[in-house]
């Protein structure tokens, strides 16, 4: 049941080749003086990277290089977490002898900057968002598998704010070759694992389940089947299990023209952006 992992490794290395050394002062976060960026990075590496990773991709602690941190509404809240920690977790508070208020502020800015680097790049949008919206909700049939703004069916990822998280290139690729990239869980106990991983299971009793993995441990696995049922299986009852890394349950948009795809991309990039 072990998955070939080389692909993901290469992906990780190519996606983030220079993140650790990212020093472009022009990218400094709002509220973070360009001149302070190197110091902020040093502080982050000294105090945070052991658990959250040099690149902010997580480790013993959760991924920080993302646009929305679940516990953080603004910089002040992030500074409070850095100062006081998160009780019940491994996240310690930064004692005043370790980080003074100025340093806490710099670290918070740097963490937000790491997240800002993941902001979707929508500069390459050429399509018509209005046409794309019509396509999405009619002939494209996207809502049969995705929820956006509360409407649709949850088989694939929710798209309500997809325009914040994914840029035009990613969306274009996702429409043309859905299997190119599976989303990676960013927090919780599944952090770092593929989401929407297609799994095919045959039980010892001969039942066959096709669906997406929702959770898994050494003894059980939880799926959403293609027909929308939630299923939890004991592994001892499973005769065959195939985890289809490199596959996606999203259909390839064969019936869509290049122009259609550009229109869909244009529409999707507006989702979550308030327009």
């Amino acid at each position: 049941m072990r998955i070939a992992k080389t692909t993901w490794l290469l992906l990780a290395l190519t996606l983030f080749p220079a993140r650790a050394a990212a020093q472009d002062p022009g990218d400094a976060a709002p509220g973070l003086d360009v001149a302070d960026h190197p110091r902020a990075e040093r502080l982050y590496r000294a105090h945070c990277a052991r658990c959250h990773g040099v690149q902010g991709l997580g480790g013993e602690g959760p991924e920080l290089a993302r646009l929305v941190l679940p516990r953080v509404a603004d910089q002040t809240q992030l500074e409070l977490i850095i100062r006081y920690g998160i009780p019940g977790t491994g996240m310690p508070g930064a004692r005043t002898t370790i980080l003074d208020d100025d340093a806490v502020s710099l670290v918070a800015s740097y963490v937000l900057w790491l997240g800002a680097q993941t902001t979707a790049d929508v500069s390459g949008v050429t399509g018509d968002a209005g046409r794309g919206r019509d396509l999405y909700w009619s002939a494209g049939d996207c809502a049969s598998c995705h929820i956006a703004a509360g409407r649709g069916t949850a088989v694939g990822p929710e798209l309500t704010a997809i325009g914040l998280r994914r840029g035009a290139d990613y969306l274009r690729e996702a429409l043309r070759t859905p299997a190119a990239r599976l989303p990676i869980a960013r927090s919780g106990s599944r952090s770092g694992f593929f989401e929407y991983l297609p799994v095919r299971i045959v039980t010892r009793g001969g039942d066959v389940y096709n669906g997406m993995r929702m959770n898994e441990d050494s003894f059980t696995i939880q799926l959403m089947t293609l027909s929308g049922f939630l299923v939890s299986l004991q592994k001892k009852e499973i005769a065959e299990m195939e985890k289809r890394v490199g596959h996606s349950l999203m259909p390839i948009a064969q019936d869509l023209s290049d122009a259609d795809i550009e229109d869909l991309v244009a529409y999707l990039t507006t989702l979550g952006r308030g327009s």
């Binding site: 490794l9 990780a12 040093r42 370790i98 106990s189």
Partner: protein
């Protein structure tokens, strides 16, 4: 339960009088007396019984509850769990067999205990019906081992600026000797507590927390000495091992793990790098009473990932030291990872095994090191006998005839990042392996994970992180874990049980032919010790980060493990409050601490 232990307990007089009066079953300590009193005769009598129990214990306080003689013979009373690893040889093996491959599927929760917030890494001590646990960050609690009801709780006042650089706020347990418990605290104190009340007998500062010293380990009680080690290499401390007088708290000896100029090994440190060389000693060692040798593993050099600042092999970092427990003198040493640049502390449990080696009986010490190699050493001399990789590693071609790694060039951390297996948390870490003398197998929870290692400039500042780099670990589908069963003499893999992610939980083998373990995904489980076949699983709803242990009360075997913020006690049958488990109810007026 053996005749010997029954007799010795009754002779101890703690609960004997009460027990006789209430026709209580044998064994037990005063928790049993409380349980029976409250169950059978109600609240008022329980108060009286408890008062009597206290009276007896105070009057008999000169009588040692757990003298050294019990610690050294721990294997003869499997109903107890008297040291962190279960015995001085650190087998973490329970000779109890009531729970076995035939009935483990019926295991269920008997009671649970919710701890103060934080990560639970404790292994409880159980003696005479009382369980002693530590809670995050450095709290000690005594529980009735039958019901889980708390008897007392002690929390140190540590102030708001306690440092812990490079590790979370954890504690792994207490040591017991005579009638006293010993606990190390996050602010680097060693505190002796009266086992019956939690009152402080003495409190000494082991080292200065302001420059990064902490105590997270369970101390080790020997004959007339309490041995502790320190955390703090990530703050650039100079590590040491200490021995304290159990009665007074006086320091008996201190052995530094980094030699000063002029001492043996000082030529393995360039310049003044020895002053901030790390070598912390943060995991409980092992002890051979016949050889009278103490075995203590030593942590990484500092700074972790920039070795340019400390040219040389950096003795005694990443070593196993054998020490004379009377003087602290280093009798022999063996270094697993010379000039480590990956943070591969040797702070893993050192397991003492007597076995036939090439036709001759031999005293061995074996360990699955953080660097992904399994080692077999002669524990009289430190001679390297055998070593082999037990998990994925990409940094060494192997070990030479002296056990020194043949390092592959280009595997050091770099400014741009260098991918190496294992990750900085290693293939093994502090979480306990187990050795079963019945199967001859060494059970090792194993982390199969690589990391991109970075090197950076760093200058030492007191009380600040002293890393010199960092890592970005691979994760998700790209990492995994396993419980591996290795032939104890060869390190050859006999079976493995796959885990979803690199584990942080220890294992325990039992005479029931079982291996208990835990996972990050919340599984507390039992495997067939001979085959690895999974036989039982409890989804505890939180990550497991501690080592299992076992004890027996009222003739019932109990299995203990923690997950999330809760410690769970498992058993067969209906347990506390039942006919077979004794009429223990929770309504007795126990004292609040």
């Amino acid at each position: 339960m053996s005749e010997r232990s029954i007799t010795s307990r009754m002779g101890r007089g703690l609960a004997a009088a009460i027990g006789d009066g209430l026709a209580a079953p044998i064994g037990a300590g005063f928790a049993a007396a409380i349980g029976h009193a409250s169950g059978r005769t109600g609240r008022h009598f329980a108060v009286a019984a408890f008062a009597i129990a206290l009276g007896v214990s105070i009057a008999g306080s000169a009588t040692a509850q757990v003298p050294y003689e019990r610690l050294v013979a721990a294997d003869s009373e499997p109903e107890s769990w008297l040291t962190y690893s279960g015995n001085y040889a650190s087998h973490r093996f329970s000779a109890l067999d009531q729970i076995n491959t035939g009935n483990v599927a019926d295991l269920r929760v008997i009671w649970a205990y919710q701890m103060d917030e934080g990560l639970i890494e404790t292994t409880p001590i159980v003696a005479d019906g009382i369980m002693y646990v530590t809670e995050p960050p450095s709290t000690v609690a005594a529980l009735d081992a039958r019901t889980g009801k708390r008897l007392w709780k002690w929390t140190p006042q540590m102030g708001s600026n306690v440092l812990h650089i490079g590790f979370p706020q954890v504690n792994r347990g207490v040591a017991i000797l005579d009638s006293t418990l010993y606990v190390g605290t996050l602010n680097a104190h060693l505190v002796a507590l009266d086992a019956r009340s939690g009152a402080i007998r003495w409190d000494v500062e082991v080292a200065d927390n302001a420059i990064g010293f902490s105590l997270t380990l369970a101390p080790l009680a020997l004959d007339g000495k309490i041995i502790v080690g320190v955390s703090g290499a990530e703050a650039g401390v100079r590590g040491f091992i200490d021995a304290y007088d159990p009665e007074t708290g006086d320091l008996v000896w201190r052995t530094y793990t980094i030699p000063a100029p002029g001492e043996f090994g000082s030529d393995t440190w360039g310049g003044n790098s020895w002053e901030t060389g790390g070598g912390s000693t943060w995991l409980t060692g092992s002890y051979d009473p016949e050889l009278d040798l103490l075995y203590w593993p030593i942590g990484n050099p500092a700074p972790d990932w920039n070795g340019d600042l400390r040219p040389g092999d950096n003795l005694y970092t990443d070593c196993l030291l054998a020490l004379d427990p009377d003087t602290g003198e280093i009798v022999w040493w063996f270094q697993f990872t010379p000039h480590d640049t990956h943070d591969w502390d040797a702070n893993q449990i050192q397991v003492l095994v007597d076995a036939e080696w090439e036709g001759e009986p031999r005293k061995l010490v074996v360990t699955a090191n953080r660097n992904a190699f399994y080692y077999v050493l002669d524990r009289e001399t430190g001679e390297f006998l055998h070593g082999t990789a037990y998990s994925k590693q990409t940094w060494a071609e192997g070990l030479d005839e002296n056990g020194r790694p043949i390092v592959i060039p280009g595997t050091e951390p770099t400014e741009g990042g260098n991918l190496v297996w294992p990750s900085l948390q290693g293939a093994a870490n502090w979480f306990s392996p187990s050795y079963s003398p019945l199967t001859g197998l060494f059970y090792q929870p194993t982390r199969i994970m690589g990391a991109i290692y970075y090197k950076a400039e760093v200058e030492y500042e007191p009380g600040q992180p002293f890393y010199g780099g960092g890592e970005q670990a691979l994760r998700g589908e790209e990492a995994s874990g396993a419980v591996k069963a290795l032939d104890v003499l060869t390190g050859e893999l006999k079976w493995e049980f796959e885990l979803q992610s690199p584990p942080w939980a220890g294992v325990m083998a039992t005479a029931g032919n079982l291996v208990f373990g835990g996972s990050n995904e919340g599984n507390i489980f039992a495997l067939n010790a001979e085959t690895g076949e999974p036989l039982w699983n409890f989804q505890a709803g939180g990550a497991v980060r501690s080592g299992p242990m076992a004890y027996e009360i009222d003739g019932q075997q109990r299995i203990v493990n923690s997950a999330g913020g809760t410690m769970f006690v498992f058993g067969l049958g209906s347990g506390a409050g039942s006919a077979d488990g004794g009429p223990a109810k929770d309504d007795g007026p126990l004292p609040e601490s």
